[in-house]
């Protein structure tokens, strides 16, 4: 188990992506070497009346000691977070949670991302490529309502993965729900596969069903309100399929397909 730290860092780079998405890079962060795709941070919104920290997946790290998150304005906390300026101090608690397990080298990797579930899967793809996986073994499915929901398009393309954007209104990539092309891909493919998904509940449910239906192993990264993020409050639990509760923050957020009642 990793020993998380509680440390102050500074906003180094702020990119205002479209559609209320922001990419923040913080420096310095002493824990970069310990970070893995699937890990998250608990970020304290500085000097506000927001009581709890807010959880964000790590979107990437650099050896120089930078750490990136990508977030979307959702409620009060993220709205205030979006007002930070370069140089502002924030406190990070992390890295937290159980990260993704990398696929076997002979497996096709199917990433299914949606909404704010995109950052950890992008990090996973980057990490795999850095570890020597063939970018062409990665199928990056990314679903949204409209083209504005698909962020960092050029960044994904640069990775050289097989990029499959899908929008409900057809304004970018294929038209419809992301799970349809995923299922078609699975049906048309005869290699070993592994699914990774992070996104809205509907998407996770679909990924879970596909995995179970086609007996494809894989992992899902879940969300829950997280008062603590370190396993001590029992506020973030979800029901396990074999009974009992799992804490999303420390038994997850990454769970095996079929493990959790979605």
């Amino acid at each position: 188990m990793i020993k998380p730290t509680c440390e102050d860092t500074f906003l180094l780079k702020k990119r205002n992506l479209k559609n209320r998405y922001f990419a923040y890079t913080f420096r310095p962060y002493t824990q970069v070497k310990k970070c893995k795709p699937g890990h998250f941070l608990q970020l304290q919104i500085p000097q506000t009346d927001i009581f709890f920290r807010r959880p964000f997946s790590i979107a990437g790290v650099t050896p120089a000691g930078d750490i990136e998150i990508i977030f979307k304005i959702f409620g009060k906390g993220t709205a205030l977070l979006a007002t930070l300026e370069k140089g502002d101090k924030v406190n990070l608690l992390g890295p937290l949670g159980v990260p993704f397990t990398l696929p076997k080298k002979n497996e096709k990797t199917i990433l299914i991302a949606g909404g704010v579930g995109f950052p950890p899967l992008m990090y996973l793809a980057v990490e795999m490529i850095a570890k020597g996986y063939d970018p062409k073994s990665i199928e990056f499915f990314y679903g949204g309502r409209t083209t504005d929901d698909i962020i960092e398009k050029s960044r994904i393309k640069k990775l050289g993965v097989n990029f499959h954007p899908v929008t409900e209104d057809g304004s970018y990539g294929m038209k419809g729900l992301v799970t349809k092309p995923v299922e078609e891909f699975i049906q048309s493919s005869d290699t070993n596969m592994r699914i990774y998904s992070c996104g809205p509940t509907g998407m996770l449910k679909a990924a879970d069903s596909l995995g179970l239906k086609y007996k494809i192993p894989g992992q899902l990264s879940l969300e829950a309100p997280m008062p603590c993020g370190v396993g001590i409050c029992l506020g973030c639990v979800k029901e396990k399929t074999d009974g009992g509760h799992a804490r999303v923050c420390c038994d997850g957020p990454v769970f095996e397909i079929g493990e959790i009642v979605l």
Binding site: K3, D49, F52, V230, C233, V237, H245
Partner: protein, 305 residues
């Protein structure tokens, strides 16, 4: 000379007055990855019940202004698993161990306490007669002086080391309940558990937690807790552990001044799990600056008009 942080409650000596509150530190394993538990005066476990409990279904916490509402519902591994899986870890820790005990019937309290009596590494029991999150038992005991006295007597019979009564703030007179607990043989008080509260989503009209009502904790309740600590302090000579909304060293000092011999940090750990370490350091600095040699130079020393 370095100021002395040591305090004694019912004969048990604590390295410092800083404890972690029940339900806010699990069984210690997670916090131990973040700092050495020797930094704590004591760790108070999640409430242990006779049988394992899953607790209420999620969502069971909600954020409120400067606080939170919880109705975890006493989720815990149950007495047996606690003894076989959690105690072995806990007894290796260089800190005092206080086991918080809850139940829905008096007989359950008695059974749990009597089993814990056999485990020497458990320094004290904190009797949760004040949890607002279970339907039977819990609150009823702690809201009624007769039941309070009876409960204390019953568990004192079977547990031979000191017992702390954890008092509910949801009563007309906490002093009356404290006196009843003292009468029943309590060795100390923990003041306070959470305030009853409710939270609703104005958009969906839905209550925010499945139990509909829950316990309010965090900085919002600190003034209520300070008043109750001081009221009990003025009316009983038993030592008090102050609890409620601690987020800083100043908060700890305020509780000591109002009459607490030690404090517990609950919700504050969720925001800053390493808070006890920071407070221990800052408390030493404060005492040096104020030229106070011992925690006892602070306890109850509030200046009133």
């Amino acid at each position: 000379m370095k100021p002395d942080l040591k305090v004694k409650i019912a004969g048990v000596e604590f390295a410092n007055p800083i404890m972690t509150a029940s339900g806010c530190c699990g069984y210690g394993e997670e916090l131990a990855t973040m700092f050495p538990l020797s930094k704590l005066g004591a760790l108070v476990t999640k409430s242990i019940t006779l049988n394992p409990r899953l607790g209420h279904p999620p969502p069971r916490t909600a954020e409120t202004t400067s606080g939170m509402l919880n109705a975890i519902g006493l989720a815990n591994v149950g007495l047996e698993t606690f003894i076989t899986e959690k105690v072995p870890f806990l007894e290796k820790q260089p800190t005092k161990i206080i086991v918080n005990v809850a139940g829905s019937k008096l007989s359950e309290y008695v059974e749990v306490c009597s089993r814990l009596n056999d485990i020497d590494s458990i320094d004290m029991i904190e009797l949760n007669i004040s949890c607002p999150n279970v339907d039977e038992g819990g609150m009823e005991f702690g809201a009624d002086p007769v039941m309070t006295e009876k409960s204390l007597k019953a568990v004192k019979n079977v547990f031979k080391r000191p017992i702390i009564a954890k008092l509910s703030p949801n009563v007309t007179s906490i002093v009356e309940i404290a006196k009843a607990a003292e009468q029943g043989g309590a060795d100390a008080f923990s003041v306070i558990n959470t305030l009853l509260g409710m939270a609703v989503d104005a958009e969906t009209w839905q209550t925010k937690i499945t139990n509909n009502k829950g316990g309010l904790s965090g900085p919002a309740i600190k003034p209520v807790a300070l008043q109750m600590v001081n009221a009990v302090y003025s009316n009983s000579s038993l030592p008090i552990i102050g609890i409620g909304g601690i987020r800083s060293t100043e908060d700890v000092i305020e509780f000591l001044l109002c009459g607490a011999t030690a404090v517990q940090i609950g919700t504050g750990l969720f925001v800053e799990p390493t808070l006890p370490v920071k407070i221990e350091k800052e408390l030493l600095q404060y005492m040096k600056r104020k030229k106070t040699d011992s925690i006892y130079d602070l306890i109850g020393k509030v200046r009133k008009y």
